[in-house]
Symmetry: C2
Subunit: 323 residues, 2 copies
């Protein structure tokens, strides 16, 4: 594949994320071969210019550059394993879109072409109909770089993310899981617990009457996909439980400070949140550079992103970065 052409992409699963990616690649002029277990979704996808085939093995054998596992989170390890068996050691690169990377990264020995990924996008809705071609525009997309990554395959996955409009963040899978426990999975937990607390009020209907924008923002993701929150929590339990316990401790600490009239401690807690919320990185500079695995990892840890891939070997990539 030349650096400028849109990649050809296989997709297993055409829900919110898979369906949006399919639309985005088609919109960019790329070829998409996909499979779905829904007859209705298959018909809609064909009408949208997608080559719909029968099952993951047919996707893997279709000659695409990259095959993307985009089934439900709990089924992703099975899908990735199945794709790995179908593509072998020399076939298309296999990636996924799951929000927990540890269990996928653990499949690297069994799936030699695997490069785990995670687009930081989505809505509280689900299914093909909820997808859009611009779902990933301006978002970040994590792509794993830990051993035994082949950077030529890493670059192939990065090109899929880039053609969908995202910026690519190189990550270590376990560091990714620690970070998303806070910035992605905790919001789902808090949305669910806060929304569920309304019915425990003495006057729940009054509570709903007086709930305004701040409560709507807090609970927005609680009403969406029926099992996604629980799947993410269970899937990322090792990283999530310390985050939950730490927040519980902070909540009790704040309650103690309020009970004891320590206003300065209360003010400090809110001021820390405000400073962090206001923190924006300086306007990043765009530059072209050659990076190995360690360089990519350092870039991601520092908040940098890959915005174009010019060339790649197994050991290094020639990329443009924002850093």
């Amino acid at each position: 594949m030349s650096a400028g052409a849109a990649p050809s992409v296989g997709i297993v699963g055409l829900g919110l994320i898979g369906g949006s990616l399919a639309r985005a690649v088609v919109a960019a002029g790329g070829r998409v071969v996909a499979t779905t277990r829904s007859t209705e979704t298959g018909a809609a996808a064909r009408a949208a210019g997608i080559d719909v085939v029968d099952g993951p093995a047919a996707v893997a054998a279709s000659g695409v550059d990259v095959v993307v596992a985009a089934t439900a989170l709990a089924h992703l390890p099975t899908t990735v394993t199945e794709l790995g068996a179908a593509v072998g050691a020399d076939g298309p690169t296999v990636t996924d879109v799951g929000s927990v990377k540890g269990p996928i990264a653990a499949l690297a020995a069994a799936v030699p072409t695997l490069v785990p990924g995670h687009p930081m996008a989505g809505t509280e809705h689900s299914g093909w109909d909820a997808g859009t071609a611009d779902m990933f525009t301006g978002r970040t997309w994590a792509v794993a770089v830990e051993p035994p990554v082949d950077l030529e395959r890493w670059a192939a996955v990065a090109r899929v993310a880039l053609v969908a409009g995202s910026q690519v963040v190189p990550v270590d899978s376990l560091e990714h899981d620690e970070v998303v426990a806070l910035v992605s999975h905790l919001p789902y937990v808090l949305a669910a617990l806060a929304a569920g607390s309304v019915d425990a009020e003495t006057h729940p209907a009054l509570a709903r009457s007086l709930a305004a924008g701040s409560f709507a923002s807090l609970t927005r993701v609680a009403s969406g996909h029926p099992t996604l929150g629980a799947e993410m929590a269970v899937g990322n339990a090792a990283a999530l439980t310390p985050v939950l316990r730490a927040l519980a401790g902070r909540l009790v600490g704040l309650a103690d400070a309020l009970d004891e009239g320590r206003a300065a401690a209360v003010t400090a807690a809110f001021a820390a949140g405000r400073r962090a919320g206001d923190k924006r990185p300086p306007a990043p500079a765009r530059s072209r550079t050659t990076l190995d695995r360690g360089g990519l990892l350092a870039l991601g840890r520092a908040g940098g992103r890959v915005v174009a891939v010019h060339a790649a070997t197994a050991r290094a990539v020639d990329v443009e970065v924002l850093a």
Copy 2:
């Protein structure tokens, strides 16, 4: 004042809420007399058709129907007391817009024309420039009905809320404070604590890179007004601390369930949030009715709202309701 005419409104403080209310009343054809300690805001308000006078006493003496205390939360008791002294027992009705009603309701003996209120509206921004005439459109506005309320004065405050585009929820001040601890103040606490947690991560820049829509929703209100969150927490501490401790207990319970692999308990926690988040009251019926204090309180507890006021005496109001 006739039932159909827009009320004349005095406003002390032209920040986000006072400034938005001033614009809304002017847009509805009402007269606004206001005071602000900012020369710039005063000039901007005059240009917007507001009669700007010098100090709360001048507002109180201007012949308006209702005077609204709209200063910062921590200063509201002082402003309400000052307005009470200026209007006496027979002057304009005094109300406020604070998110904690207990400390205002406690001033009822000293301010005989007082009817506490709280518009359930606002944004993460502050100040006159952030205000809009439609800030209250389609929102609810809590107006207190506990003794010694004079329902003719209650109706005067309700008319201000209605002319601003809100629906009026009759509340007991202490029940209001319990409910908003969950639906309004808790979201500020969680936004601040979650935003503040990012800097405690091993790789905070990576965390910011991977933070997407769910984290942005959770932390939206953390970056706004510099002291509002802490003021609300301190002001409503008695109602807020049980909410914080209860949520801390639920977080620890969820962490325990995750650590122990009790997936059913995890699923149940998310399902409860989803059911509550999906719960919408049945389409309410609009009807005209005469209600006393107890009837108004029951209406509010049941999730009902007042949407028009036809007439009022000290003991009863003739209103249209959604219930």
